[in-house]
């Protein structure tokens, strides 16, 4: 940005600084040169690439762990270098912080210069205009004085075309396009502003995930989240205690082949209220239409099937009656789930495959061949023994620890069917199929600021690239007894239409005076 002063800086750089202050000044000068800003920009682009190559903790901790277990040796070093959290790593932050400082260092002095330029009138015209690349002249019949008087009428034309005009002794000087530099400064300030807004939002915001089955509800407190990622300065008091109930999860399928289909539309109908004293409102949210509630927004991420099961013990008493989330594994929603019933003698574990359209083939075993509910089935294996829940080690609810368990049966169930466990130890009933939905709940207090910054940046960049800053001079001279009108223009940057501007103004001038043929 300091292109005009690069030369001076180079000379200063040649002098090796001695004092500490000298070093600071030298460093500052370096940092705020366009060359270094450019290099930092490059560095930022290069530095963001590893984040698209390696799995990122911020996106999927599971994938990172998978990668680490597959490449244990290299992973240690990759992890130390921050390759699994590129955008939160110290070196990435260092680059963009330096870039921000460099930007500010560039912008502030330029703002001062530009502020001065805006209030000061255009400078006087140079004496010899013909030496300029974009200049034209023509001879007139009158003398210098009378010609200049006539030419002066051009000022009205110039002012109408938003030129800023002054005149002096036989010259007119005009300038326009101040918005170019304004746009440029607005753009760079807006970029800094966006970075600040992003940082603010991620420090004070949060995001979490929730799984809701049809008919269940959720209160916005920390303990009810399935996963929760707070910003560094987020406080749990900031959670607005709203309440949401999933009434219905609706999915529409479109047939894409003989035995395949895609979900073309899905929506979750929610009842919600911001506090207990309010009435419930209802809204159906979909993939592109979130629910804004409290200071957060609730987004529908995905869905799956959740069979309703009832387990009874030997005496026939109900020990389990719930809707269980089965996680989808493929496009046809072959889903897997686990049910653990510790309140039974012996303890019962059920590992199941749910298929909305169930089929068993020799190569794939039990699976689903269509995502909609055509022939819903659960292929269950039943395990009895010790579930291992008392060991104190937290267990994954989607896996069964089979070390102390013995398989006691393998059976498939359709809705309405019941399977009796061996030796009369109990029964399992598959009642019906419901659906579940996964939601992202997030609050980002910086997002509107970031949007504002983005809009300003776009307007700024349009101004700085599309508006031309031009200076225009008209001078009436006496060239060896012949009165001449000379028009010249310059631009600080590449300005392809400058010759056309000079041509147009020259033509306008010619209309005002008697042109000598």
């Amino acid at each position: 940005m300091k292109d005009e002063t690069t030369q001076n800086i180079r000379e200063e750089n040649a002098v090796v600084p001695i004092s500490a202050l000298g070093w600071v000044r030298w460093f500052w000068r370096q940092l705020t040169t366009m060359r270094v800003a450019l290099q930092l920009l490059f560095l930022l682009a290069v530095a963001s690439i590893p984040g698209s190559v390696f799995p990122q903790r911020t996106q999927s901790a599971m994938k990172v762990n998978q990668y680490i277990s597959q490449n244990p040796e290299t992973s240690i070093w990759l992890d130390r270098l921050g390759m699994f959290d590129v955008y939160g790593s110290f070196w990435f932050s260092a680059i963009y912080l330096l870039l921000m400082i460099s930007l500010v260092g560039c912008i502030l002095p330029r703002m001062k210069i530009h502020a001065k330029a805006i209030v000061s009138p255009p400078p006087n015209a140079p004496r010899y205009l013909k030496k300029f690349e974009f200049s034209q002249s023509f001879a007139t019949k009158g003398d210098v004085d009378s010609t200049f008087k006539k030419i002066s009428e051009i000022k009205t034309h110039l002012k109408q075309n938003r030129w800023r005009v002054i005149d002096g002794e036989y010259f007119i000087s005009a300038e326009k396009g101040y918005l170019r530099e304004t746009g440029n400064l607005v753009f760079h300030l807006a970029v800094v502003f966006i970075l600040l807004a992003v940082a603010f939002g991620s420090t004070y915001g949060y995001r979490g995930q929730v799984i809701l089955r049809e008919g269940t509800s959720f209160s916005n407190v920390l303990s009810q989240y399935d996963s929760f990622t707070p910003g560094r300065l987020f406080k749990s008091e900031n959670l607005v205690p709203f309440n949401v109930k999933l009434e219905k999860m609706a999915v529409t399928f479109e047939q894409t082949g003989e035995d395949s289909a895609k979900a073309t539309d899905f929506g979750a109908t929610l009842k919600f209220r911001e506090n207990a004293s309010e009435e419930y409102s209802e809204k159906t949210i979909g993939v592109n239409s979130p629910l804004d509630i409290g200071n957060s927004s609730m987004f529908l991420l995905g869905w799956g099937y959740a069979p309703h099961l009832i387990v009874r013990d030997a005496s026939g008493a109900t020990v389990f009656d719930d809707v269980v989330v089965f996680l989808p594994q493929d496009a046809n929603f072959t889903s897997t789930g686990v049910i653990k019933i510790p309140d039974m003698q012996p303890q019962l574990g059920i590992q199941g495959i749910f298929a909305p359209t169930g089929i068993v083939t020799s190569d794939l075993g039990p699976h689903s061949m269509y995502p909609d509910l055509v022939n819903p089935m659960i292929f269950a294996s039943f395990w009895q023994g010790d579930l291992g829940l008392d060991s104190g080690v937290p267990q994954n609810i989607y896996t069964l620890d089979k070390t102390e368990l013995k398989q006691v049966g393998l059976h498939d169930l359709k809705p309405g069917e019941t399977w009796e466990l061996k030796n009369g130890t109990g029964s399992v009933e598959f009642v019906s199929v419901k659906k579940f939905a996964t939601f992202n709940i997030a609050s980002d207090p910086g997002q509107n600021w970031a949007l504002l910054g983005a809009i300003l940046a776009i307007f700024g960049i349009i101004g700085s690239l599309y508006i031309q800053r031009r200076r225009l001079w008209i001078r009436v001279v006496n060239d060896e007894g012949q009165t001449e009108v000379v028009v010249a223009a310059i631009s600080r940057h590449e300005d392809v239409d400058l010759s056309e501007v000079v041509q147009e103004i020259t033509t306008e001038c010619e209309k005002l005076v008697n042109v000598a043929k």
């Binding site: 940005m1 292109d3 690069t6 030369q7 366009m34 060359r35 800003a37 450019l38 920009l41 490059f42 930022l44 682009a45 963001s48 690439i49 984040g51 698209s52 190559v53 990122q56 911020t58 996106q59 590129v86 955008y87 992003v198 995001r207 479109e254 894409t256 895609k262 979900a263 073309t264 539309d265 899905f266 979909g286 993939v287 592109n288 239409s289 979130p290 927004s297 987004f299 991420l301 992202n440 997030a442 980002d444 997002q447 970031a450 949007l451 983005a454 809009i455 940046a457 776009i458 960049i461 349009i462 690239l465 599309y466 940057h493 590449e494 392809v496």
Partner: protein
């Protein structure tokens, strides 16, 4: 809503028809280019084949336009729901811009260099990227599809034009330097003698890039706004987002380099080229090799 198979089939026929017209146009452009030597003294050189090439380009573009339109009508939506549709729409956009520009200025010298990538893009579209016309997946059902993707299509076209100009500029500059050093002309002269000088190319490429940069900025911002309503966050460093950012930074660096002492001309041109490569990488490779949320834009 059901897919209109007839429209989808006719769309394919029109796309193939446009490829045929473009192929003939390419031969005509090549002929015009070969005859175009010594333009300054003999402006009529290659004029006839140039005219034929332009007419064929118009024909091909009209056919392609109908193909794109039918593709959209077959599914009752904008025709840019996957990479196949994105490619045919993008190619149409580039050719349309070129033809409209040709009404004002003579771009026959440039035609060959645009028709080649246009054909390449259509060829990839009908072979590698082809997908049956279908309903949009839920994540794409938003009016932001219209805004974000149309801006991306136009940007892609302008980036391609800018990239071609940059390559030409570098070639011409190399040859000019060779001659300035007193060496005899190289084989490159076959191309460089038929296009404008490096300064003019540099300026033209700057104009294209300066035009498209704000549009690309808008594309990224619109994408972020859409991402917020579709995925719950406006920026999440998804591979596609990351590479869009890298491209943005690349072109920003190019624009800065052009006003920096010591970076003008060649060095700036190389930056523009690198930025273009990151865009191509993002378009073709990120979809296929990196898992991300933009998977639907692949096959």
């Amino acid at each position: 809503m059901a897919i209109n198979e007839t429209f989808a089939q006719y769309s394919n026929i029109f796309v193939y028809g446009s490829m045929a017209a473009y192929t003939f146009a390419m031969f005509a452009f090549a002929t015009a280019f070969a005859q175009g030597r010594d333009k300054e003294n003999n402006p009529q050189n290659g004029r006839k084949s140039g005219n034929i090439a332009m007419s064929l380009s118009w024909l091909g573009t009209i056919l392609l336009g109908i193909g794109v339109l039918l593709r959209g009508l077959s599914a009752s939506r904008v025709p840019w729901g996957n990479m196949y549709e994105f490619s045919i729409t993008g190619t149409f956009g580039v050719m349309f811009v070129l033809l409209v520009y040709s009404l004002k200025r003579d771009v026959r010298w440039f035609g060959l260099f645009i028709i080649l990538p246009a054909l390449l893009s259509l060829g990839l579209a009908v072979t590698v990227l082809y997908t049956e016309s279908a309903q949009l997946i839920p994540a794409l059902k938003s009016y932001w599809l219209l805004i974000h993707v149309s801006a991306a299509v136009v940007s892609a076209g302008m980036f391609a034009i800018g990239g071609v100009l940059t390559i030409l500029q570098l070639l011409v500059e190399k040859e000019e330097r060779r001659i300035a050093e007193g060496n005899p002309p190289s084989r490159l002269q076959a191309i460089t003698s038929r296009v404008p000088d490096s300064k003019a190319l540099d300026l033209l490429s700057y104009k294209v890039h300066a035009f498209v940069f704000p549009l690309w900025t808008f594309t990224v911002v619109a994408g972020a706004i859409w991402a917020r309503s579709a995925w719950g966050r406006y920026w999440g460093w998804d591979p596609k987002e990351t590479w869009a950012f890298v491209t943005w930074v690349g072109y920003a660096a190019y624009l800065h380099a052009r006003i920096t002492v010591g970076w003008k001309g060649n060095r700036a041109a190389y930056i523009a080229l690198v930025a273009f490569l990151t865009f191509i990488f993002n378009y073709f490779f990120v979809n296929f090799f990196f898992a991300g949320l933009h998977v639907y834009s692949g096959k």
